[in-house]
């Protein structure tokens, strides 16, 4: 009987997850491997993709200043977006958590709801707001704060603002999840023992929500670094990031092997950040997680 049971457990989970696994092997693993192989191929303007194998495309990405600039710009913008999401997301989540239940669920909906609305729509809103004849410039000019319109569309600042808007809900979600486990008594204890509000925040609340802040930062950074639609629309053609550069190689200049190499590097960087930082955060905050 025991062997019969063991045998059943042995096959059943594979039968149940088999269909999904088959689809994933055929349509996710295979395409990714083919792209990895493609990134090793060479390309010439006359012959197209050539079935030779070398690391030439990677060498080109590492050597060329053009790609250095793109990778640095992408990393810098992702860092700025992450920082803004931390600075805006933490206070807002705490404020929402302090509200009466009725308001709390309403504003949680207002803040998180945009996640379900298409990125194209949200970015369109910022394109309209940030333009030279956009609402922000019009308002600032009407108020007499500026005389000439400030260029915001097609600038890094514009992309950072719009990406922060798109991604800040992820920070709120992550902080909210840890805030739910926060022991409210400790805050009162700190206050009643004479600590200032700032000290209570810095020494009591912040350390406890730190795991959430970290995991939120990882998600925001990874998504900002690989964002496509927002940099493409707000940044325009000139202000390239890694994702739009890969797109251009694929559908513009048709240098597929080079585009594939950029994609592989983006994937690798993404996995290192997500898996590496999660491991680090997990180890450091083991006590808090358990």
């Amino acid at each position: 009987m025991a062997t019969y049971d063991a045998e059943r457990v042995g096959v059943a989970p594979w039968l149940l997850s088999g269909p999904a696994l088959l689809v994933f092997v055929a349509l996710l693993l295979a395409p990714l491997l083919l792209t990895a192989v493609l990134s090793l191929n060479l390309f010439s303007d006359t012959e197209g993709v050539m079935p030779a194998y070398s690391l030439g495309n990677y060498v080109e990405v590492f050597k060329d200043d053009y790609f250095h600039e793109i990778f640095l710009r992408t990393g810098g913008m992702a860092l700025a977006v992450t920082l803004l999401c931390v600075l805006l997301g933490i206070p807002e989540t705490i404020i929402i958590a302090r509200m009466a239940p009725r308001w709390r669920s309403l504003f949680l909906l207002v803040v998180l709801g945009p996640l379900l609305i298409s990125v194209v729509v949200r970015t369109l809103g910022w394109a309209i707001l940030l333009g030279n004849n956009g609402l922000i410039n019009d308002a600032l000019q009407a108020l007499g704060i500026i005389e000439q319109p400030v260029k915001m569309l097609f600038t890094q600042v514009g992309v950072i603002i719009a990406l922060t808007h798109v991604l800040v809900p992820f920070m709120v979600i992550a902080v909210w999840a840890t805030l739910q486990r926060l022991d409210l008594q400790v805050e009162w204890a700190g206050l009643s023992l004479g600590a200032s509000r700032l000290t209570v925040f810095r020494r009591i609340i912040l350390p406890q929500i730190m795991p959430g802040v970290l995991s939120g930062s990882i998600i925001v950074f990874a998504l900002a670094a690989s964002a496509f639609a927002t940099p493409a629309i707000i940044g325009g053609r000139r202000l390239k990031v890694v994702a739009t550069a890969a797109y251009d190689e694929f559908l513009g200049t048709l240098n597929w092997p080079l585009g594939a190499a950029i994609a592989m590097l983006l994937l690798l960087a993404n996995l290192i950040i997500i898996l590496g930082c999660s491991k680090l955060a997990e180890r450091r905050f083991k006590q808090v997680f358990e």
């Binding site: 457990v9 594979w14 999904a20 395409p31 493609l38 807002e92 404020i95 379900l116 949200r122 496509f228």
Partner: protein, 265 residues
Amino acid sequence: MHKNGIFSLLFHALFVTFIVAPLVVVMAMAFTSKGYLSLPTEGLSLRWFRALADNHEMLDAFALSIKLGLASATIAAVLAIPAALAISRYDFPGRGAVTGFLLSPLMIPSVVLGIAFLRFFSLAQIGGSFWALTLTHVIVVLPYALRLTLASTIGLERDIEQAALSLGASRWTAFYRVVLPRIRTGVVGGWMLAFIQSFDELTMTVFVATPGTTTLPVAMYNQISQTIDPLITAVSTVLIVGTLLLMLILDRMVGLDRVLIGEGK
């Protein structure tokens, strides 16, 4: 926790303005009576919604996106249910790897997925069809369906199912009549989230969409990269209102916080 002070509420007001402003602006501009992008200062007009009703390109793209969302969310849900049961019920070697593999599209940049699918389709020469596009969307949305389904299958007691089996119900009957009703909220919530993700997907689809399979986000993106006119704000308004309605349904049925924040609650 203590109450919010005046500065907190001020910060909150600014934050909410920041979140809502771009959406409100888009919706306001859709009601302009002018031929160019402007706020409807001289009275509201529905002319751009009428123009939208006559725009076959956008309507076709809209219909395609709905079909694509329905098909890919359904396939993803059907694949996710048995997979979730396997992961939550059996402690088998490779369980962690299976879970990680099926959730991995969440960690892969959409651009990379788009490039991989494009390469795959060009080698296999099956690009450009509706079902090829559907399969790519299944990969992208399955993690969402799986996560919510898992949330309802984990911790599900097996006693009633075993009672049904011992009373002579077939495995299928036991699943259909006992297990499925009890994991329904997770499955339906996962299906809806998968539908929304498919419907909104742009970055991956931009690579594999062909003139015959242009989804709504791709059509909108192509339009916006050329020029922003009031027509596109009218499309966006329809999308915002539609998403709000879906959101309310989702909130009533599963609880939006559960869908968005996950099992943490």
